[in-house]
Amino acid sequence: MTVSQIRNVGLPLMKLVRWEGVPILRQLQLEEQLLRTSSENWCIINDGTKNPTIVMGISGISKLGKPAELLKLDRVLNDRIPVIRRFSGGGTVIVDHGTVFVSFICNKDAVSGLQPYPQPIMSWSSQLYALVFREFGDFNLRENDYVFGDRKFGGNAQSITKNRWIHHTSFLWDYEVSNMAYLKHPARAPEYRMARDHLEFICRMKEYMPRSVFIDRTIEAVETHFSLRPVRLEAMETDLNPRFAHSTKLLTKQELEAAGFESHLKTSSLSHSL
């Protein structure tokens, strides 16, 4: 046996999937299906997604007009930027080839002593990433964001079912300033943001460490908890039921236009009543 094989004896098994440029909609739909129908532990790393895409949390389209509060809808519609509503909680992000995604899907007993609730899972993840980012910056978990100092570079979201949970992160390896212009300043923002403009609030990971080092170190950190087995995407998909009903979906132009119209109506009725 090799040294790493000896070290991994006794650790729970986790399947490792490494992708490059897989479309984020496909990734999220796969994750939702694995969360709900698989009984195994998974780590999914997707290095970039091809086209700029806006990804909203579960409540992003809950009320008519809400997307208009979070997005510059005219610009989004005009430039035909895809908007996805994902199955997990949390806020709105715009992702592209400069985003690195890392997701953990686990059975609730997979991590010894970990209670399957938002805060303990968030804390566990931050300890794992503290190993990854040691020496590379002033890393911290701050109001559920990963930061260097007071600048966010990683956004988190979770979904917790009866017996399983997912914690997934979008890491800002790099970003296009023009893409950030599609997002509005959200009404519900962390306190440490202190009303900073988007570009003053976030930072690029590439200014702190090489991309391959981040991914390699993440895998090493995961191996302190799990025995990893690489799996290919094609092999995975043949085992999955093609009729699974995803809640993760691409919002239609009509849905977004309706959201914009409702928001306009609200604004108009407010100004009339004043």
Binding site: S59, G89, P118, Q119
Partner: protein, 154 residues
Amino acid sequence: MASRLWASKAASYLRLSVFHRGFSSVVEDLKYADSHEWVKFDGKSAVVGITDHAQDHLGDVVYVELPEAGTTVTQGSSFGAVESVKATSDINSPVSGKVVEVNEELSSSPGLINASPYENGWIIKVEMNDTGELNSLMDSEQYTKFCEEEDAKH
């Protein structure tokens, strides 16, 4: 000491059990699922919500995904979700039957689940198929012990 005595008397009046270590309240006469939902029943009618223990561990609820009236629910299966912090968490039905009413207040005031988990924060009303399912749920004493053991393990 005096405030603890007062709290015990108040708890007794309200038929609450308050275990001081965990600070979560448990209501007598309800039944409880191991996924931390409660059910109040009267004949075939049931009201369902999540417990004080659950809301405390989830954090501030900011959104509730509710089913529609007329939906079928199955014991142990998910019928909706709450969002808190960055997480969605499934709500599982402790009984099987048909949803006859949904607490629409939760759409505009999701925080009712935190503020009043057993009263104003109720989530659905169900017409039960089989009241015998209630026998597989925990009573308040069993649920209190269950929560203590769960918290002690972690």
